[in-house]
């Protein structure tokens, strides 16, 4: 298996070539404004030895922050037609009702609400109003709206009304790009609908960006399938990813954790990814990041997503350091010089004292000019490292889910700030290529399938078995090899105030990318 993993970060684009499970080559290039320039440069560097082009590559896996940045910066977003099936419920809370005003004004192309939707037990909430949908679709067409987001009450349990509506819209609006909220899973109409609206707003950008990625790969002389990495540490085929760009929102942090698991060979451990400005602490379970099980805000919009549960704090290689005196202790961050480290850091002739300068003074790093930081004696350096240690220990404890010591994998460019001994940590593990763990995580990504549904009047084990079967089918549909599927997460939750034995079950499975 030969794969290329690429992680497009805010500052750097990292790329690795993995062959039969080993990192053969790892390179960095500055991220370009248009994203693809950085990718082209990274691929060119990766290919300098001729290794890349000489033998076939099985897949190129790209992780990108491009889509989430578009939402945060309110750029490149399409106007969306929102169609909700669920009248007469919630007429007072129409689509976009809890969006930040500036973003709603950019994205809201029109709102239509018609009868339809289901009950929690599968009965229709109201009969599907095909005529109402057709009328809405004609109005969308008249307004020139092509990006359409369809939502329906309890569609994760029964998506049929959304599907029927999508067919009608597709017939009435030629060239419509349609997002159904049931494809984005999860119970919670408003949050699921919000995810659908964001997805529809990104549809054009996703199609263009992913087409540009494909061009860049082809221009580099590589003939391989393109995959895009997802929030949960798995990949989707380019064509599918282009339809669901919201699933690629948080892939950077996830890829780092997956890469850390792979490079260390550990499936259950804490991971500290120390960048230039912040450190992300997360927990690996069965080789995947533990997920946050709550509402996630994206650019001010409430959504429910598969996102890694991370604790971020202001400790990084570029963090400002304020040396303490009799009255104040030593303080690190949260401000950072970020990508200006090589200009603004004292060791590089600048004025701002950073953690990197302290590491140079202490002889831990060989960067810049050590003479410029000769004033900082070892006692001063020790105090700064002690503060970094305290910050890391507190954050690790915050993210732990059980008592006892666990191993911690330190990755990222600022990993020198993690000491070898930490309270509550059995062992600090450092790995080769730890500074491009994100690109490694992309290169080794698998395919997943997920289900989140209510099961009634089944035993707990039957309900979980049924859920697992659905998740398996979804993973195979997304491109997984059925023989390699493994359940990595099972969660069941009895539901209050529903009759019968109602159990909400969430199951996630993963498998290797099917070849061919």
């Amino acid at each position: 298996m030969r794969r290329i993993g690429i992680d497009v970060g805010g500052t750097n684009t990292d790329a690795v070539l993995i062959e039969e499970g080993k990192v053969v080559r790892a390179v960095k290039a500055p991220t370009s404004e248009d994203v693809t320039g950085g990718i082209l440069e990274a691929l060119a560097k990766l290919g300098q030895t001729g290794e890349v082009a000489s033998k076939p590559v099985d897949g190129v896996m790209i992780g990108t922050t491009h889509f989430i940045n578009a939402v945060i910066q309110r750029k490149h977003l399409s106007k969306v037609a929102a169609l909700r099936l669920g009248m007469p419920a919630a007429a007072s809370l129409p689509p976009f009702c809890d969006w930040p005003q500036d973003l709603a004004e950019i994205v809201r192309g029109g709102v239509w609400m018609v009868e339809g939707g289901h009950e929690y037990d599968g009965r229709p909430f109201m009969p599907f109003d095909a005529e109402g949908v057709r009328k809405a679709a004609r109005e969308m067409q008249a307004k020139g709206l092509k990006a359409v987001a369809i939502s329906s009450i309890f569609s994760p349990l029964d998506p049929s009304h959304e599907r029927q509506a999508a067919e009608i819209v597709a017939a009435e609006v030629p060239g419509a790009v349609i997002t159904c909220s049931s494809d984005l899973g999860r119970i919670g109409l408003l949050e699921r609908e919000n995810a659908g609206l964001l997805n529809a707003a990104l549809a054009d950008l996703a199609r263009d960006t992913i087409a540009a990625f494909e061009h860049a790969i082809r221009d580099s002389g590589i003939r391989a399938a393109l995959f895009i990495t997802q929030n949960d540490g798995t990949v989707a085929e380019a064509a599918q990813a282009a339809k669901l760009p919201v699933y690629s929102f948080a892939s950077g942090a996830t890829n780092s954790m997956r890469g850390a698991a792979y490079l260390s060979g550990l499936a259950d451990a804490m991971v500290a990814d120390v960048g230039g400005t912040t450190t992300d602490i997360g927990q690996l379970r069965h080789g995947f990041p533990r997920e946050a099980n709550s509402v996630v805000q994206i650019g001010g919009v409430r959504t429910l997503f598969r996102m890694p549960d991370l604790y971020s704090f202001g400790l990084g290689g570029g963090s400002h350091v304020a040396l303490g005196d009799r009255n104040r202790g030593t303080k690190i961050g949260p401000l950072s010089v970020g990508y200006r480290l090589m200009k603004d850091g004292i060791a590089f002739g600048g004025q701002q004292l950073t953690t990197t300068d302290i590491a140079v003074a202490a002889g831990k790093l060989d960067l810049g000019d050590r003479r410029r930081v000769a004033d900082f004696d070892s006692a001063t350096c020790d105090r700064v490292f002690a503060e970094a240690k305290r910050m890391v220990e507190e954050s690790v404890d915050r993210m732990k889910t059980e008592a006892g010591s666990v191993p911690l994998i330190a990755v990222g460019g600022g990993a020198f700030l993690i000491p070898d001994k930490l309270e509550g940590v059995s062992e600090v593990i450092r790995v080769a290529h730890g500074d491009c763990a994100n690109a490694v995580g992309a290169a080794i990504a698998q395919v997943s399938g997920e289900v989140d549904q209510i099961f009634r009047d089944l035993t707990r084990s039957d309900a979980i078995a049924q859920a697992t079967a659905i998740a398996n089918d979804r993973a195979v549909a997304a491109g997984a090899d059925r023989t390699t599927l493994k359940t990595i997460e099972t969660e069941d939750m009895p539901i209050a105030y529903l009759p019968g034995n109602s159990l909400r079950v969430r199951v996630r499975v993963v498998g290797d990318v099917a070849s061919g």
Binding site: G86, P88, A89, A90, A91, S92, L93, C97, D98, G117, E119, Y120, R123, F125, M126, I153, F154, I187, G188, L189, L190, N293, S294, R398, M399, K400, T401, E402, A403, I454, M493, P494, I495, A496, Y497, L498, P499, N501, S502, L503, R504
Partner: protein
């Protein structure tokens, strides 16, 4: 008589404070809050009336939403449905309501009277019947007062409406209303038995809307100023810190439509080495420290996020959360023998004698 204007900022605080008074249950106030933001943006305003200002022969509507929070997450909330339940009760009884009050100040039901009040242009009465959240309809001050449990109106957003004209007991009312609710799809807007001004003055739990706003304001102010929100709550309410620690285990099971279970914590700060166990039945019911019961219903047991000060619910509490457990004093009406019969530990099948955290 004075009516006080409720500002939108008050309602934002009410949502935070009511969630804390929900003692782990009562459901989220988020959708109610969104409805109120929309109503205020359209120019609606709501006023607050003190129960003492009611005439004895005034009529007051008591409202709540009942059903599964999960269904609410899909159907959302339309402010007009609860207003319709009140209007239906007026049509049925011929009363004209002077004001509208909450059945339950804890959680999302704290906002229901405000939504009805905005549409029907009546004041909200500053009182409720629980002073917190409880899982069943007979766990109220008016049941303790042996007031009549009927009639009841229930409304579904699609226009399904029903009236329970008469039923012998509160428990029976609870059973029959839950059956109706299930047939609606496990969610219904309800207007409970109308109460006279005299009854509200004698049996209502007074000042609870103001109390929830005050608690929520304290928390929100502390959050903005990066101060300790728990200390802020204790500066406006005579509560006690019971414990500080981290969630280490959550066990849940659904029985007879209720979410029951137990959460275990490992102590920090002054409680290092001490274990707390909290039993819940939708709401937090009994707290044990190293095996010994130290707090129980009707004392309010509130689990708060140690950093944000916001409430942590029984449905969402999870491993690793840093929490502070506090107790707030219960409404005196529940401390009588009859009160304890309805909401004391034995009402939840615990064979323990009630002892309040606040008894010295």
């Amino acid at each position: 008589m004075q009516l006080r204007d409720i500002t939108l900022d008050d309602i934002e605080s009410l949502a935070v404070g009511a969630w804390i008074l929900g003692t782990g249950g009562g459901g989220s106030s988020y959708l109610g809050l969104l409805n109120m933001r929309a109503l205020y943006a359209e120019g609606h305003r709501v006023q607050l009336m003190q129960p003492e200002d009611l005439a004895d022969d005034d009529w007051v509507a008591a409202v709540s939403n009942m059903g599964a929070p999960l269904v609410g997450q899909e159907r959302l909330t339309d402010s007009r449905t609860i207003a319709r339940a009140v209007a239906l009760m007026e049509e049925h009884t011929g009363h004209t309501f002077r004001g509208i009050m909450a059945l339950e100040i804890g959680g999302g039901n704290s906002i229901q009277p405000l939504m009805a009040a905005a549409h029907l242009k009546r004041p909200v009465i500053d009182a409720d019947m629980m002073g917190r959240a409880y899982p069943e309809a007979q766990m109220t001050s008016v049941a303790v007062g042996d007031l009549k449990p009927y009639p009841l109106t229930t409304v579904d957003v699609r226009g399904l409406e029903s009236v329970v004209e008469k039923v012998p007991t509160w428990k029976w009312m609870e059973r029959v209303s839950r059956k109706i609710c299930v047939e609606y799809g496990s969610i219904a807007s309800t207007c409970k038995a109308p109460r006279s001004g005299a009854e509200v003055k004698r049996w209502g739990i007074h000042g609870t809307t103001t109390k929830a706003i005050k608690i929520g304001t304290a928390v929100r102010k502390a959050q903005k100023a990066h101060e300790d929100p728990i200390a802020a709550i204790l500066s406006v309410e005579p509560g006690k810190v019971l414990y500080r620690g981290k969630v280490v285990d959550v066990e849940r099971r659904a029985t007879e439509g209720f979410l029951r279970g137990r959460t275990r914590f490992d102590g920090s700060d002054d409680w290092r080495g001490a274990t707390m166990e909290l039993d819940f039945q939708n709401e937090w019911i009994v707290a044990r420290l190293d095996g010994q019961p130290i707090a129980m219903s009707p004392d309010l047991i509130c689990v708060l996020d140690s950093v944000s000060g916001e409430a942590v619910g029984t449905e969402t509490i999870r491993y690793g959360q840093r929490v502070t457990v506090i107790a707030l004093p219960p409404p005196p009406v529940f401390l009588t023998e009859r009160g304890l019969h309805f909401v004391g530990p034995r009402a939840f099948n615990y064979d323990i004698d009630f002892k309040s955290v606040f008894q010295s």
